[in-house]
């Protein structure tokens, strides 16, 4: 995207010219862009806008775009609200809330015909739209500069014809500090504004709004998390912050070790001694963890790893997205060992699968990798609040009557009952080497093979269990014979595309062990399919090709940015005819 030319590169070779956008407000959908400098509170302002729109009965999704720096630079958030479930934004918006001129320069081409600009009248040279005299308001209200955002929000509330009293309840909840002053500032913004684009109440129930990282944290808590270890890294740092913030009331412990290597080893130490731990990182940190991933595999120490994907390789783009760790998650580590890999598609799935990952990791004593991407981690979602049915599985306990206790005892399922030190009269050993049933190191060829078979057997049970858990989602137009194949955050964007253009959407949620039966059912009578992924090669298309499914084409985006609904629709018209 560039400010002067008004065009954006969608993906390799595809350039979309600006077209006059038509507001979708008639379809009861509204999009709001908030822009300013890093440090201006763009994300929190976006969250308040999202909460406001949620409060009038919309399902919301917010995408926050920010460079990897603390102050300065351009930040923007797009909040989209619609009556139906959404998990993606459009490039076109109905409102632009501009805290500086740069926001207008960069994003004016996104504004739909009839759209509204709300801006700081001193910083933005615009004769159009609604100017809010922030400096005057702040001076008169003796407020700090960051409260200027409240005046902009107030102006938006009026412009969108949202009931002031209803809005005030959202503002009070969202701004626990300086609440009264913020409300006064917001009201001043409201008073200088005018009704432009009424956002009508939908009459639907209000869903809670939260980020994918928060949903993951909740899922881990529901999965009986006891300890969380993480070395800070985008896009999962906010799980660390969230859990640390609530650690005391949740009776959990949150530790920041010296490196990702220490992170995973500490969690495996906990597992040995019987405490449920999870860890969070991104691709770079996961690189450091891979040796210990194999330790989890061979020593059969349960662990849940949140691997939040960002643009790679190497340091890549620290704060932008990609779905490029699928192959890495499937194959990381030397040797062969069982693992569970799950890619949730939104916040609700992130919550469900985080807690299920805890259950399954402990039942089968293996590493479970949750593979969201930056869009899910840091995206803000409306989430169905129901508590859902807890997946009932847990560790297989050792029988105190059996002596001697053998940590790696054989069983039909390959699962050895678990006991934790100290147990009087028993010795409990876990081992990174090939070992016998007692955990003692061995190089015996027969034992080597038997132990490999034992570990692999666990995958058979896990796969059977997974196949019964709707591991492959079927959406869009379910009986269409042309399908879109996607994963993870592709859910939101592809569901919309599928419904609009009449495609089935097939989305494996569990990626390993690959749910071949569920996938075959999902693909029944599909005569051609196209994969939509944010990576260079089409990693999911590669994975399904191993099972005999060949994509007719791929729509790939690898510039660190999300697919946008309208852009993908246009591109799909070129690729899928």
């Amino acid at each position: 995207m560039n400010a002067g030319g008004y065009h954006f590169i969608l993906s390799a070779g595809i350039v979309i010219s600006p077209t006059a956008g038509k507001s979708r407000m008639a379809e009861n959908e509204v999009s709001v862009l908030i822009g300013g400098r890093a440090g201006d509170g763009i994300s929190s302002t976006g969250q308040i806008i999202a909460h406001l729109l949620a409060q009038v009965g919309y399902r919301v999704y917010m995408h926050f775009d920010y460079p990897s720096l603390i102050k300065g630079g351009h930040n923007f958030a797009i909040v989209r609200a619609a009556e139906g479930d959404i998990g993606a934004v459009r490039s076109k918006v109905d409102f632009i809330l501009a805290l500086n001129q740069e926001t207008i320069d960069l994003h004016i081409q996104r504004l739909n015909t009839g759209g509204v600009i709300i801006h700081d009248s001193r910083k933005v040279k615009s004769t159009e739209g609604i100017g809010v005299p922030l400096r005057e308001i702040l001076t008169e209200e003796k407020a700090t500069p960051v409260m200027g955002n409240s005046a902009i929000i107030g102006a938006f509330i009026r412009a969108a014809k949202i009931d002031w009293d209803l809005a005030a309840t959202v503002l009070k909840k969202s701004m626990p500090k300086g609440t009264e002053q913020n409300l006064r500032v917001a009201r001043r913004g409201y008073d200088v504004s005018e009704e432009r684009h009424a956002v009508h109440r939908t009459g639907k129930s209000v869903f809670p709004v939260m980020t994918g990282n928060e949903a993951i944290s909740i899922g881990l808590i529901e999965g009986d998390l006891e300890l969380y270890f993480s070395y800070p890294m985008s896009p999962t740092s906010n799980i660390l912050h969230f859990l640390a913030g609530y650690a005391d009331e949740l009776k959990i412990r949150v530790i920041q070790p010296e490196s990702e290597i220490a992170v995973i080893l500490m969690a495996l130490g906990c597992a040995y001694a019987g405490s449920k731990a999870a860890i969070g990182t991104s691709g770079g940190g996961f690189c450091l963890m891979t040796e210990a991933l194999g330790l989890s595999g061979i020593a059969e120490l349960p662990i849940v790893i949140i691997l939040g994907q960002r643009t790679g390789p190497s340091t890549g783009l620290a704060t932008y997205t990609a779905q490029s760790e699928l192959h890495f998650a499937l194959h990381a580590g030397q040797g062969e060992f069982p693992r569970l890999v799950i890619a949730p598609g939104d916040a609700a799935e992130a919550r469900f699968w985080s807690r299920t990952a805890m259950d399954l990791a402990w039942k089968y004593q293996l590493p479970a990798i949750l593979l969201p991407d930056r869009l899910i981690c840091e995206g803000l979602y409306s989430m169905e609040p129901g508590l859902g049915v807890r997946f009932q599985a847990g560790p297989v306990p050792g029988d105190p009557g059996v002596h001697p206790y053998l940590r790696y005892a054989h069983s039909d399922s390959g699962i050895s009952p678990l006991r934790f030190p100290p147990v009087k009269g028993e010795i409990i050993r876990v081992n990174s080497h090939v070992h016998d049933i007692d955990g003692l190191t061995t190089e015996d060829p027969r034992v080597t093979r038997e132990m490999a078979d034992k570990r692999r057997k666990k995958m058979d049970g896990l796969l059977t269990e997974i196949e019964g858990m709707s591991p492959v989602s079927i959406g869009g137009v379910p009986d269409a014979t042309t399908a879109i194949l996607c994963w993870g955050s592709g859910k939101g964007i592809c569901e919309e595309l599928g419904k609009k253009r009449g495609f089935r959407v097939v989305r494996p949620v569990v990626l390993w062990p690959f749910p071949e039966k569920a996938f075959a059912r999902a693909m029944g009578e599909v005569d051609r399919f196209f994969s939509v992924e944010t990576n260079e090669s089409g990693q999911l298309a590669d994975l399904v090709s191993r099972f005999g499914y060949s994509a007719a084409g791929k729509i790939l985006k690898y510039d660190g940015r999300a697919f946008m609904v309208d852009e993908l629709e246009e591109e799909s018209e070129t690729v899928i005819q």
């Binding site: 809670p208 220490a262 500490m266 001694a273 010795i427 081992n431």
Partner: protein, 284 residues
């Protein structure tokens, strides 16, 4: 109990004359005595790294976590966080914790984690058949340095002292009785206790004569004084010819890491569900 019960039936594969036998039996004797005094040995967990030292995991009948190369201390940290009632002993080596996992050693000391680290310092890689280590002297001739190592060793005692370790000692595998005392006192120390054990490698680096001619016992009466300890640490730099002090170099007690993270009484599943429900309501 009979100490021999602590020796496992696993076939021992150390070279004849290896210093590891001395360390194994010293630890066995100390634990046997502790058991006789009522200490429950099921509370002991050995965390072993990778190297010849690591075979202690197989050769001793104790709970154990056979970790990755360099990674004893973070595993031990997790074990202690999960259950601070466990007595965790890290068995590690100069390749394991001075090279591959040095960061964890420093952080274990920094945090004053309540574990005992027995570092088998034979100053050569035995398992990989004879390369130099971080404590090998300058000019050490090994398979990877046929013309002599081109880097100087670091001084682990100075490093540990600077990192915050509360108990630092140096032992020697030809001083069995002293080694037993050092291990015993290390196990009794509350906090991070560290014993650098000068260990004979009979095959690749037999320094018996060298050590025997230079060792002496430290006066431990000033072990609580940091500057005195610093002076002792600096007497020998693991490279230049000097007298080699043995014994407890430094000892002080301080609050331990685990006390800042006590094991909480977990919330019941019902309480967790209530918390989640409340959180959701706040966000709606």
């Amino acid at each position: 109990m009979n100490g021999n019960e602590l020796i496992s039936t696993a076939k021992n594969t150390w070279c004849p004359g290896c210093g590891n036998f001395i360390i194994q039996h010293a630890l066995k004797d100390v634990l046997t005595d502790m058991a006789a005094e009522g200490f429950p040995l099921e509370n002991v967990v050995l965390v072993a790294g990778i190297g010849q030292h690591g075979k202690m995991f197989d050769f001793l009948n104790l709970n154990g976590f056979y970790s990755l190369h360099g990674r004893t201390i973070p595993a031990a940290t997790g074990i202690r966080l999960a259950n601070p009632g466990l007595k965790v002993i890290c068995i590690t080596g100069d390749g394991d914790s001075y090279a591959e996992g040095l960061d964890h050693l420093i952080f274990g000391a920094k945090r004053n984690l309540d574990i005992t680290v027995l570092l088998h310092d034979n100053r050569v890689y035995g398992l990989t058949t004879g390369q130099f280590t971080p404590t090998s002297p300058y000019g050490f001739r090994g398979h990877s340095t046929p013309t002599g190592a081109k880097e100087y060793p670091f001084n682990p005692l100075e490093l540990l002292l600077g990192s915050g370790a509360g108990f630092i000692a140096r032992g020697y595998t030809h001083k069995h009785e002293q080694l037993k005392r050092l291990i015993r006192e290390a196990l009794q120390h509350k906090g991070f206790s560290f014993v650098d054990i000068l260990q004979i490698c009979a095959t690749y680096n037999d320094m018996t004569g060298y050590y025997d001619a230079r060792i002496f016992d430290w006066d431990e009466s000033d072990a609580g004084i940091y500057n005195a300890a610093y002076g002792k640490a600096r007497e020998w730099d693991y490279n230049t010819d000097a007298r080699i002090g043995l014994g407890i170099m430094y000892r002080r007690t301080a609050p331990i890491f685990e006390e800042n993270y006590p094991v909480p009484e977990p919330l019941s599943p019902e309480k967790r569900s209530e918390w989640v429900k409340h959180f959701m309501e706040e966000r709606a």
